[in-house]
Amino acid sequence: MSRKKNRLFRKALASVPIHLTITTISVCASVYALAQSYPPYGPDIPLAHFDHGNRPHLTPPPPKLMCPVLSPSCQDARTAQSEWNTQLLGYDTLDGRSAYQPLVVHQGNRYIAYMAHHAGCAISRLNLNNEVNGTSLLDVTNPQHPIYLAHIPNSPSDGATCTGSLDAAGNQMVHVCGGDSLPSNSRAEENRKRGHYYMLRTNGNASGQPGVESHEIWDTTNPSSPVLLKTIDSGATNTHKDWWECYSGVAYLVGNDGTASAGSPDSAPGWQQSGSTQHMKIYNLHDPANPEYIRDFGFVGQQPTATPPAIEGLVTPPTGIHGPISAGDRIYAAYGVGGNGAIQILDRSKVLNGCKASGASANCAKSPTQSEMLAPQLGWFTLPGTSLQGGHTSFPIFGEENGKRRNLILVTSEEGGNECTAGSAPHAAWLYDVTDEANPKYIAEDPNDPARTKMDVPNGFDYKWVGIIPGNGVTDNHCGTTNCSQSGIYGASVTPQDSPTNPNNFCNQGARFGVHSSTELFYPPYYGRLAITAWFTGGLRVFDIRNPDDPRAIAYFIPEPNDTGCGPKGGPSPGPGCTMANTGRDGHTVNAIHTNNVEVDDRGLIYIADRAGTGMHIIKLTGQAAGAGAGNDNDNDHDHDNDHGHDNDHDNDHDH
């Protein structure tokens, strides 16, 4: 759409009858109020409405640079704060701790941000002690002025100290349920939990020592003074991305059992995986102080009694799980993380109740048979790019189109190497149509993209691919498309590092460039409209998926590296510089941004966490992205219209 046409289009949309606006506001207000009804908090599922709107594709504006032109007097090749249809509302350094996952909970009349950290040590602003990284709790009720309430250090049971090994430290994952949402078996239990909030976190890093990790439940009713309530599965290893249904209490814990846990009653040793060695341990945590073990589960071929070759997946044994998401009577499980990926669709009831059924084997819960592994499985698929792409996040989107049911899964892989490591693939996001669960179908394919998807971010600052070697066709009957090409890969010299004649690209920022994750909260106004993802050095990336067959980039936000300090407002405390360095190709070392994970709250605000210790940024959608999030095709926020994107589909006007 041309600029002139765009102006006319906006003018036309400005004349939309006022009652439509009022209706929209009313609908949004009602979904805000109901946001707590959806997973993981409640059992309801919002219904997305897909269309075939022929919306113009946009080329995002290039990011701003610390040195717009590299010269002898200005040699800083990093990206500076850059926005496209976004606005920064608030920021906190998190004391300079590397952060994995943000989670913002509407807790009473406040919004509490639970920021889950990687391993490490930093000085707490609250007590000036050097504390092993754990979980930071902040009051973000006023997003412009976050208040740091507490830091819960990593529990020392994993052996981590600030002067010794950090191998097993860190508390990367967090979930929170309210006691009023969790079901109770008795009036006494109900009374005991009333008004309380409970935080489930991993205690240990997936790269750590075997058998010293665990999951923990903390009472965070007073987020300024959390209290440890229970340790679960102590002796675990490779703990990672859990999921906790607040409406049922069922928790899908990710990890494996090390030898140290062999003596605990819920230990299930012997599960086997390639790559990331982790599977699901399923509990009911409706009463967080008294966990109830249900069973262990994973991909068929991972059970302790499995014998090679595996009958499903790309490798034997199949790759480990990264994390599950449950919704309705389904569980969507992503395996492989960054390679040899597979996504599995499971019947939740059969998973939870399969070992209670008559005829179940005696050791079904801990060591199921192959048929017991297959019984709950409704479908599975590999990814475009096969072995070079992994299953990191599998977020279901239930919807309709033209009155007919249409269900999708948004899948992300994970980039694992710094600076687009030679031979590795650009990791991206994909949409699958799983209306027929037994026959998932890959959609939104872009055969010209290295990862064959329209939901990708090219590495060049001009949004063109640099240094890509095309992929090869491979045989794979489970990728959901007729062309299962292997992903393209980065060549040996993708980026002329710091060349004064080349303003570089996202692969030249020291850290990883590629997708990591998507949001997982079922926030109704954005549900089925926006795919919100974290793209490491590419920052926050938002795609408009209302027409899921033709998604388009619609917003981004790249934070500025913190060169001023880890104090509460980004100033010195104790000294300047908060963003840590990463080392990429040939020792190239840069302290640049590294957006790790992203989540929304039930106000529609977006929170991103930085893996390089920069902190937490709170972001608001503006312009076209705000409009798309509200279901409109006009800009929803004219005061902050920073739409500098360029239509690159001039002959393809909107069909509304």
């Binding site: 040699q75 990672h240 590092q497 880890c566 210790g613």
Partner: protein
């Protein structure tokens, strides 16, 4: 001592990029003003120095991090030291470790501008 340090790192480093050129330039232009912390950092033997060696040379770090999750191809443990240049400016000494617990990178991170790699050795592929 500085020359010995440079010779030592050059003999074990496999880096062949602009960072080493930058290091040589930096050493030549600022050798007379090297601060105590940088002198200590130059003594760190990449590829062989352990956490204990680094602590003995540099003291207790200001901040540490280990973001090596299950898919990390680079091991993620790094230590940081803050250095006050006494002229209102600060810089950081960045020390990264490989999976074997040996130093893989030593770098000087200015408050603004381009980091200077003091020493680097290629990391073994991270597998687990």
């Amino acid at each position: 001592m500085i020359l010995l340090g440079v010779f030592g790192l050059a003999s074990i480093s496999v880096a062949q990029d602009t960072e080493i050129a930058s290091l040589v330039t930096w050493i030549c232009t600022s050798a007379v003003a090297l601060d105590a912390q940088t002198k200590q950092a130059l003594k760190i033997q990449v590829g062989s120095a352990t956490r204990e060696d680094v602590a003995r040379l540099m003291g207790k770090p200001w901040r540490t991090s280990n973001d090596a999750d299950c898919e990390a191809e680079q091991y993620g443990e790094a230590w940081e030291y803050l250095v006050d240049e006494a002229n209102g400016k600060f810089f950081r000494i960045h020390v990264a470790f490989n999976k074997d617990g040996k130093v893989s990178v030593v770098a000087k991170i200015p408050q603004r501008g381009k980091p200077v790699v003091l020493a680097y050795v290629a990391e073994k592929e991270h597998q687990h």
